[in-house]
């Protein structure tokens, strides 16, 4: 949203409407479709990892079940709640952006930021305990059968390789989310025309944040809640 074109066409005196669009509806749709195009590439990005996970879990169901027992389900569940709640906070901030209520937008966006930091703190605690237990795949992977709960060490490394790459990639997305939400908060704070006159930037940041939540919705049951093969 670099410069706001002054109108002279379209649906009246609309400062947010850029000159290449017929009207605000067309402009909004273009932005949303553009954002979804990006999100589709993100789906593909995570998608390959989900395919790899499906493949190896179907090959070694028992080892994945045993290795996953070392994960902390409580922390995973808390993080799921945090992300679901932050998604609600985000959609509420978009809701108030549409109605032009700056104070409420800032309040809800602040809540989203707090949730994002909370998520990362819990992730830090989780990663810390896994690193301490030598659960990082590689030459230093644990040789203690209790740590992998009796699973084959090679297959346990496969599980933890997928665990760290998938949740790590997700955590990177959370960090990026914090950066763009912080940028959005700043724009609202200084009453930048680009966000105050047009709710779409807030909406697009919201779409990104919901996508981050979406990935975790699948990661949580796949990583933390593997049912016992029976």
């Amino acid at each position: 949203m670099a410069t706001l074109a002054h109108d002279g066409h379209g649906d009246g005196h609309n400062e947010a409407l850029h000159h290449q669009f017929e009207n605000i509806d067309q402009q909004n749709e273009s932005y949303v479709v553009g954002m979804w195009t990006f999100l589709v590439t993100e789906i593909m990005f995570f998608g390959t990892l989900f395919v790899i996970y499906t493949l190896y879990r179907s090959m070694y169901p028992m080892d994945f079940y045993l290795a996953h027992e070392h994960l902390n389900i409580q922390l995973g569940a808390i993080n799921t709640c945090i992300l679901l709640f932050s998604s609600w906070l985000m959609v509420m901030s978009v809701h108030w952006a549409q109605r032009g209520n700056r104070e409420k937008v800032l309040l809800y966006l602040g809540g989203v930021l707090a949730c994002a930091f909370g998520f990362l703190v819990i992730k830090y605690v989780e990663y810390g305990s896994k690193i301490k237990d030598k659960m990082v795949p590689g030459p230093n992977f644990t040789t203690d059968p209790e740590k992998v709960h009796g699973a084959n060490f090679n297959y346990a490394q496969l599980f933890y390789g997928l665990y760290f790459s998938m949740t790590g990639l997700h955590a990177i997305h959370v960090i990026v989310g914090i950066l763009i939400i912080a940028a959005l908060v700043r724009l609202w704070w200084i009453r930048a025309k680009s966000v105050v006159l047009d709710y779409i930037p807030t909406e697009l940041v919201g779409l990104y944040w919901h996508f981050v939540d979406l990935v975790w919705i699948f990661l949580f049951p796949l990583m933390y809640l593997i049912p016992k093969p029976h």
Binding site: N14, I24, N28, V32, W36, V40, G100, H210, F218, H230
Partner: protein, 140 residues
Amino acid sequence: MANTPLSHSHHVVPARYYHINLLVLALLMGLTIAAAYWSAPGGVVVNNIIAVGIASIKAYLVILIFMGVKWASPLTKVWVLAGFFGFSLMFIVLCDYMTRQFEPANGWVKNGQSAYPPVRPGSVQNVPDNVNFRPRGSGN
């Protein structure tokens, strides 16, 4: 509330949709955890289907309500559907892995059309018994 004169044509969704959606998502999360500890009749496959099924419903609700696709333009809906359709196509790659136990096909060995060298009788395969690994000929 009427101080956004510029985006006046968009549809503002009543906030109660979001509240209800959050509640349903939280309930489904609880259901996911409960379902994971339940030994489903029919084996662990049923558990897996239930887990991914609930996750899919949650994802559907997030996309529909939180991401606003329910109220989006038809073009946006097509775009979203195309994305997830493309994602589902990725799983076709599993057909390769799941059928490797049937290889090498006799015809391939006989006429040498396989891209991989045929298994020679008596060749040593250092592969654990339970690993579904394409047997390769050694020494050529």
